[in-house]
Symmetry: C2
Subunit: 482 residues, 2 copies
C-alpha cells in the first residue's frame, strides 16, 4: 500500500513577520484558501487516503497540525497518524520514525516523503510521477523526484543525473524518464548554477522521495547504524505505555543528519525522476509575489489597500488600511505586532531581521499576537503596567486546564457562545453578555461543552502578568507537568 | 498691550495617517517634546503672557486645545481665552472675532496673528521681528512677516516687495528692513517660483501678521463690510447669555474669505518685514524628515525599528516592530489603524489618499483609534459582530455624562485609579481590579473625582454598538442636546 509521510516539523523565519519561529510557514495560507500543510495533504488525497497519511511534527505544533487537518473533509479521525518528535533531529530520524510506525501495520508499505511547506502547480503530473516512483520503489529502489530548474537558484541543492535507465514497469504505470544519480551539489555559485540549468542534466533536490519503508530502514542500517540502533530501541517500545519516554531518551542522543547527506549521497539504489511540475519552496516573499495573481502593473494588493501609482509591489494587509504611493518593487507585510517593508531584491535578508530580534530576546521573533493552544487561541489586545486584555477563543468540546494564578485576577466576559465555568467551589454556565471574576489564588476552569466556538474577553489585573504564573491541576492535554 | 491670536481651527490631511480630518497637525508632536500648538504658544511666551494669548478654534477641538494648553506651565487658567467658531469661515472671520474679544478689555491692543501649526527655527530673531512689527502696528499699519524663501516652493503664496521704507521707530526697537508690498502671487509655476527666489525681492506669505485690533477692524469695515456688520452684531451680544446663539446665526450667513484676499491685497496700509527665521509649514512628510536629526545614511528611524541597509528613509513607528530592508527614499508612517508607505518625492499626494478614504466613508480618514473627548480619551481595542472592547482614560476631576444606551450593555473593569460610579439607583466606588455591569437601558455615569488618571477596560456587548446609541441626561460639557 502507498503511504504518505509529511514532514511538518521545524521552524522558518524567511517569511517573517507572517511566519514566526513557533509558527512556521507550513501553517500559513499563502496562496489559495488552504494552508501549505493542508494543500500538501490534499495534493495526494486521491492517491493516498487520510488514514495512510502520516505527519511528523513536534509536540508544540501538534495541536496546530491537528486543528488544520481536522478542518479538511475526511481527515477528522487522523489523530493516531500524527507522530511527535521530542526534538528535531533533521530528516533521517523523522523518516526512520515514520517508517517504523508504518511497518507496524503494513510490512510492504511504500512511503512518499513530502515536506509540508512546498508549492506544486501541476498536481496531476506530480501524482502520475508518484505512481511511477511507487512502482520503482516496489523494486527496492530509492526514488527522488528531481525538479527541472527554471532559473539558476543558488540556495538549493542540485543533483546531476547519471545514465538513463530503461523503465521496466507494468504497462499501466505512467512512462517517465528515469536516471541514475551522478552527484549531489549543495548551493552552487550563480555561474555554476547557470551552467547546471543550461546543461539540462541537473535537477533541484526538493526533499521529495519515494521508497519502501523496509528499503530505507535497511539503507539506514548500513550508512547510519547509530540512528538505526536507536530506532530499533524505539520500535521495540512502541507497544509499551512508556514508549514516549523511550523516544525522548533515544532522540536526546541522536545526531541531526539529513537523509540526503546521511544515506542518499552514499546509496547505490538512488534513482531520479525528472519533474517539471511548477514546484516552489516559497522560500521568500518575492516568490509568493511571483506566484500570486497580479494587477496590470504587477502589484499584488491583499487587503484594505489604497494604492496611488505603485508598481511591482506586494502588500499583505491584516485589516489595517494601507496606503502605498509611488512605490517600486517593494514588499510590505503587515501583522498586528510587526511590519516588514523590504526591497524586492532583498527578501532573502528577512532571516537577518529575525536573528537581530532573537538577539534582543524580542517575542515578535517567536510568536504572533494570536497564540495557538490545544484548546483554541488567545490574542493579547492590550497590555498596561498592571493589566492585560485578551480575546480568547475556546474550540467546541475544548477546555482550558483546571488552574490557578498566584499573582493575577481575571475578569471574564462571554461575548459569544456559552461557557462552562469552575470558579472556586462554584460550577456554573455563562451565556453571552454574562461575566465572572476569578480572584488570584482561586482554582478555575473554562470549558466549551457546546458545538459553537466560545469567545471570551479576559481582563487580567495584578502586579505580575506573565504566562508562567500558572499552576495546572488537571489538563485534558497532559500539560500538568509543565 | 501686545496680544497673540493663534488660529487653531481647520483640519489637515497632508500628514495622514498621523493627522486626521478631526485631529489635525497642530495637535501632533512632530518635532520635539511639544505639539505644534504648544510650541506656538511657548514661542511667544516671553513677549506675551498666557492671559493675553487667544486661541480661535472649533467646538469639536476645544477640549483638545484646552488639554494641550493646560499641560503648559502658566497656561492652566486660560479657559476664557479660547474663542469658539461654530463653523470655519476662513481667516478674516476668525481674526475679526478675536479682535472683538480683545477690544473688550484693551482698546489699544496690538495683536499678533499666528497659525497654530508652523515650525520656526530661530525664535529669538522671530521675537525681535515681532517687537518691530508691533511698533509699526502702533502707527496704524498692517504688518506681514515675509518669509525669505530658501527654495522655489510652488505650493505657497508669494508677495513681491515694493519700495523700501525708512524705519522711524524708537531707538529701543530692533532695526529691520521694511518694505511696501507690490503684489500678491498665489502658487506660482516652478519656473516663476525659481525666478522669485533668484530675484531676492519675493517672500512667502506665512499667515503671520501684526496690527492693532482697531486697525484691522477698520480695514474690514472698508473691504469686507458684510463681515464687519456681522461682527458688530456679535460684539453687541457678547455680554448677553444668548451670545453663543448670535454667533451661530451670524456665522451661518458669513462668507468664507481669507484675510489676505479679503483685506490685505487691497489695503494701502500693508508693510512687509522680511524674515529669515527657518520657517516651515511642515506641510508634508518629507519636510518633517528634513528637519529631524538623521543618522549617517540620512535615515530618521523613530520607534522600534530594525533596519538593514536602508537610506534616506523616514519611519514613524507606533510601538509595533518595523523592519526595513534595502529601502531608498521612503516614508513609512505607522499608526494603530492605518499605515502609509510613500516614495519621498510623492508625499504631496497623501491628501489624495485621504480623499479616496472619504469617498469610501472610511472612519480612518476622520479619526484615529484613540478618540479625544472632553473628559479624556478612549481607544477601541477590538470589535466583533456583537462586542466592542475599549480602553478608557478619564482625566482627574472629569466625568462622562449621565447616560444610558438602548442596545448595549457594558462591563467595566477598573485597571488603575479609582472610579466613582452611578449604576441605576446605586452609587459606589470601584478600586483597581473591581468591576461592574451596566445592563442596556440603565442610567449610568463614570466619574474620576481623584487626582490620578482613571483607566477602565470596557467590554460592551449587544446587537448594535454604534457611538450614537446614547441618551445623555446631564453633562458637565453641555452635550445633552446632542
Amino acid at each position: 500500500m502507498l503511504h504518505v509521510v509529511i514532514l511538518a516539523g521545524g521552524g522558518g523565519t524567511r517569511l517573517w513577520p507572517l511566519s514566526r519561529i513557533h509558527y512556521p510557514k507550513q501553517f500559513l495560507k499563502l496562496l489559495g484558501d488552504y494552508t501549505l500543510l493542508q494543500q500538501t495533504a490534499l495534493r495526494v488525497r486521491n492517491l493516498v487516503s487520510p488514514d495512510r497519511q502520516w505527519i511528523v511534527t513536534g509536540k508544540e505544533q501538534e495541536f496546530i497540525v491537528r486543528a488544520q487537518l481536522a478542518a479538511l473533509p475526511g481527515f477528522d479521525t487522523l489523530s493516531g497518524n500524527i507522530l511527535l518528535e521530542p526534538e528535531p533531529r533533521n530528516t533521517a530520524a523523522a523518516i526512520a520514525l515514520a517508517a517504523l510506525h508504518i511497518l507496524r501495520t503494513d510490512p510492504h508499505a511504500v512511503m512518499v516523503v513530502l515536506p509540508a511547506d512546498h508549492w506544486i502547480e501541476r498536481n496531476d503530473l506530480f501524482a502520475s510521477l508518484l505512481i511511477t516512483a511507487a512502482a520503482l520503489a516496489e523494486q527496492d529502489m530509492l526514488v527522488m523526484i528531481g525538479i527541472v530548474p527554471d532559473h539558476p537558484a543558488t540556495g538549493y541543492g542540485y543533483i546531476q543525473r547519471g545514465n538513463r535507465l530503461p523503465l521496466r514497469l507494468p504497462a499501466d504505470v505512467p512512462a517517465q524518464e528515469l536516471y541514475q544519480v551522478a552527484q549531489f551539489v549543495e548551493k552552487p555559485s550563480l555561474s555554476a548554477a547557470q551552467a547546471y540549468v543550461d546543461s539540462e542534466t541537473y535537477y533541484w533536490n526538493a526533499g521529495i522521495f519515494v521508497w519502501r519503508a523496509t528499503t530505507i530502514l535497511n539503507e539506514i542500517s548500513i550508512y547510519l547504524p547509530r540512528l538505526y540502533d536507536g530506532m530499533q530501541e524505539i520500535a521495540s517500545s512502541l507497544a509499551d505505555a512508556t514508549s514516549a519516554k523511550t523516544v525522548t531518551e533515544v532522540y536526546r542522543r541522536l545526531d541531526a543528519v539529513s537523509i540526503d547527506y546521511g544515506v542518499l549521497e552514499k546509496s547505490q539504489r538512488l534513482l531520479v525522476l525528472p519533474a517539471d511540475i511548477g514546484w516552489s519552496d516559497l522560500g521568500e516573499w518575492t516568490t509568493i509575489h511571483r506566484l500570486s495573481p497580479q494587477d496590470e502593473r504587477g502589484n499584488v494588493l491583499n487587503g484594505n489597500v489604497v494604492n496611488i501609482d505603485s508598481e511591482k509591489t506586494f502588500v499583505h494587509s491584516n485589516g489595517r488600511v494601507i496606503a502605498t504611493i509611488g512605490l517600486q518593487n517593494t514588499v510590505i507585510i503587515d501583522t498586528d505586532d510587526a511590519l516588514l517593508i523590504c526591497a524586492q531584491d532583498r527578501t532573502q535578508e528577512v532571516k537577518g531581521v529575525v536573528q537581530q530580534l532573537q538577539t534582543r530576546g524580542a517575542m515578535v521573533a517567536y510568536t504572533a499576537r494570536t497564540v495557538h493552544r490545544p484548546w483554541g487561541t488567545y490574542t493579547v489586545l492590550e497590555e498596561g503596567p498592571a493589566f492585560k486584555v485578551k480575546r480568547i477563543f475556546v474550540n467546541p468540546g475544548a477546555a482550558l486546564s483546571l488552574q490557578l494564578h498566584r499573582h493575577r485576577s481575571e475578569h471574564w466576559v462571554v461575548v459569544s457562545g456559552v461557557a462552562e465555568v469552575i470558579n472556586g467551589d462554584q460550577h456554573f454556565i455563562l451565556q453571552a453578555n454574562q461575566s465572572t471574576y476569578v480572584p488570584a489564588g482561586v482554582t478555575h476552569r473554562l470549558t466549551n461543552s457546546w458545538t459553537e466556538p466560545l469567545e471570551v474577553i479576559e481582563v487580567a489585573t495584578g502586579s505580575y502578568l506573565g504566562e508562567d504564573d500558572i499552576v495546572r491541576f488537571d489538563d485534558i492535554y497532559q500539560r500538568t507537568s509543565q
